[in-house]
């Protein structure tokens, strides 16, 4: 049970959500936006976070969009990972999302919650990171809505101004049309936090890769992408790519830094082989 008390507000519109957020804050209390709640509730139970009110934004119609519009694909921040997988508008995102938690939990975890969560993995960010010049986010807050290039919106974590929340992410349709792969490696179990997750695409002859679980937060590196796109054997490219990842490889309960490096090298080589076939 969650020991402390807080208020529950379910907003029907973007404006309502932002307004109630400001009102609660103005009364000296702490509101937080609420998506799937899977992280909020588990942390609240252990009193690891504290707040006075949650504002549930997931059923606001704009947060529920999941469709193709013009030349883009739109993903509402309140859409569950399960629905993203079912609709499969962007197979790479479906793949990355399909390995978060387990199926029942994915019916609850939202796109926005996974990006904004405390855990460093944020695996659903990886596909967008690969297309950061062709992806945008819509955020809403006290100052109304803002359309933000994904590059600015997310650099390992979500950059929002106080009182803002994510409404939707958009990516150019072509992102769904290039060869792509997402691979998650765990210590052993299928359902587990990742040792790392790697998403890779090939745009013409250019290879792009985004990583989660390797260092603190998800990252993408031009240098690594250049290395991986160079003309060399898969193994050589993989090795030099991992050599670029300097010092801060995660060393934790799930696996040592050394094993992560080793496994990452192999995984990259395998992925290159697959994607260039």
């Amino acid at each position: 049970m969650i020991p402390f008390s807080f208020e529950y507000h379910r907003a029907d519109s973007l404006e309502e959500a932002a307004l109630v957020y400001q009102q609660i804050q103005a009364s000296g209390q702490k509101p937080i936006y609420y998506g799937g709640g899977t992280e909020i509730l588990t942390m609240a139970r252990l009193a690891q976070i504290h707040f006075d009110a949650v504002i549930d934004i997931k059923q606001i119609p704009q947060c529920q969009r999941l469709e193709r519009a013009d030349d883009a694909i739109v993903f509402g921040a309140g859409v569950s990972l399960d629905r993203i997988g079912q609709a499969n508008l962007w197979p790479l995102l479906s793949q990355a999302g399909a390995r978060v938690a387990d199926h029942s939990v994915r019916c609850k975890i939202t796109l926005g919650g996974n990006l904004a969560g405390t855990l460093p993995y944020r695996e659903v960010a990886l596909p967008f990171m690969l297309f950061s010049s062709d992806a945008h986010g819509l955020v809403f807050g006290p100052g109304g809505s803002r359309d933000v290039p994904f590059k600015e919106l997310f650099n390992g974590q979500l950059n929002l101004r106080p009182g803002e929340f994510l409404v939707e992410l958009r990516v150019a349709q072509f992102a769904a049309e290039v060869p792509a792969l997402s691979v998650k490696k765990t210590r052993l179990d299928w359902v587990d936090y990742p040792l790392f997750t790697v998403a890779m695409v090939r745009v013409n002859s250019e290879i792009r890769v985004a990583f989660s679980g390797v260092t603190g937060c998800p990252f993408i590196s031009d240098a690594i992408n250049r290395t991986l796109s160079a003309a060399a054997s898969w193994d050589d490219r993989a090795q030099s790519a991992v050599a670029h990842i300097s010092d801060s490889v995660v060393d934790d309960l799930h696996g040592s830094a050394k094993y992560r490096r080793f496994l990452l090298t192999r995984t990259l080589a395998d992925m290159l082989a697959k994607i260039e076939e």
């Binding site: 049970m1 208020e7 379910r10 109630v20 509730l41 199926h103 299928w190």
Partner: protein, 157 residues
């Protein structure tokens, strides 16, 4: 806007009945189902989303009721294991010895029931993907898989 700020009464739709409850806004659905409504078929195994013993069917989806606020459930259709009556699935669980202590059983039944409703054509891989959401410490899992598979197959032929 629906605001639920202090303990008041709410109406939940559980097992096809409209039931009045008075939870704190911070009470999870699991807590309310058990403590207020006596639907103790939903079990706390971790209250952390990991074990699935608390799974209920929520508008045809399996959801872990420890990961949901009671207030969030207003306006939705909830089915607990107590809402399953004489289903082929329950018989299959008994016939396949798909449980020992039985503590995980409600969660497996609700997950599997949702699977049968949503994907009557599920293949083995999909079945496993859904049932991975639940932990059992007593059985070898094969019994549970066989029980669910037997019902899926009977539907599919």
């Amino acid at each position: 806007m629906f605001s639920y700020t202090t303990r008041q009464s709410l109406i939940l739709q559980v097992n096809q009945d409209a039931l009045t409850v008075t939870p704190r806004p911070s009470d999870t659905l699991l807590y309310t189902l058990r403590q207020e409504l006596g639907f103790t078929g939903a079990k706390p195994g971790c209250e952390n989303g990991d074990c699935g013993a608390c799974t209920v069917i929520f508008d045809n989806l399996p959801l872990k009721s420890c990961l949901m606020l009671t207030a969030e459930a207003v306006g939705h259709e909830i089915t607990t294991v107590e809402g399953l009556h004489h289903t082929a699935l329950q018989d299959a669980f008994m016939d396949h010895w798909a449980f020992q202590c039985g503590y995980c059983t409600s969660g497996f039944l609700t997950t599997a029931h949702a699977l049968l409703t949503r994907h009557p054509d599920a293949d083995r891989q999909t079945m496993v993907e859904w049932l991975r959401s639940n932990l059992c410490r007593c059985t070898g899992y094969q019994e549970i898989g066989d029980a669910v598979w037997s019902v899926l197959q009977a539907r599919q032929t």
